[in-house]
Subunit: 101 residues, 2 copies
DNA sequence: TACATTTATCGTAATTTTGCGATTAAAACA
DNA sequence: TGTTTTAATCGCAAAATTACGATAAATGTA
């Protein structure tokens, strides 16, 4: 990044795979996803009870999962419900299947 | 890590999945793996020609892939040959398949 | 023997990640 | 209305990641 000052361009699918992989690269985030898969959705409080990390830390991990596109959120008055984003989930599945072909 | 000073213990499969995901969480490393998959193996120099990053940076990425267990290395006099570690590759495939079930 | 090739490693800087406690904001409830 | 519940965000510190150039070590070649 010194000589050219240009960022390398990677193709779209590689970037998506990197983003999904990064989402999965922390064990707490894997546990959160597993919980959501099993229970279809969750609230932040469920995960706080499930994983021994501070509420703010759990919130941050969930935010990252959301940024990756693997989950989305629905406002339910005072609570926020988080669920797997199944279309991106399928996309991720396809990308991982493709590389581990 | 302040109150308890104890690290959370995650189960073995979750940790492995996190490690494999981290390996895949950088686009350059994905490209390296794709190159190796196609060409069965590679030398550092091949990747330096393939991806516009400094040789030291490529070396670092390859080292990380090796640490993750997804690749291994064989010394060939002055060159080092890197190849996919197929048994761990299969293991990774199974873990990703399992979570994206 | 001198030089070239190949890769690893060191030192460094910039950025990102991880984790926490404290605080805030909004809705629900008594 | 005051209190509780739920979750987001801020500020901060420690650690890890990413990238580079410089250098070193080992082998091959002229």
């Amino acid at each position: 990044m010194t000589l050219s000052e240009e960022k390398i361009i990677y193709d779209e699918r590689i970037m998506k795979l990197a983003v999904f992989s990064k989402a999965l690269s922390h064990p707490a985030r894997i546990k959160i996803l597993q919980y959501m898969e099993k229970n279809s959705c969750c609230y932040v409080g469920d995960i706080v009870k499930f994983i021994p990390l501070a509420q703010s830390t759990i919130s941050q991990h969930i935010k990252e999962l959301k940024t990756s596109g693997l989950i989305n959120s629905f406002q339910e008055s005072q609570k926020t419900k988080y669920c797997i984003n199944w279309s991106n989930w399928q996309y991720a599945k396809a990308l991982f299947n493709n590389i581990f072909r």
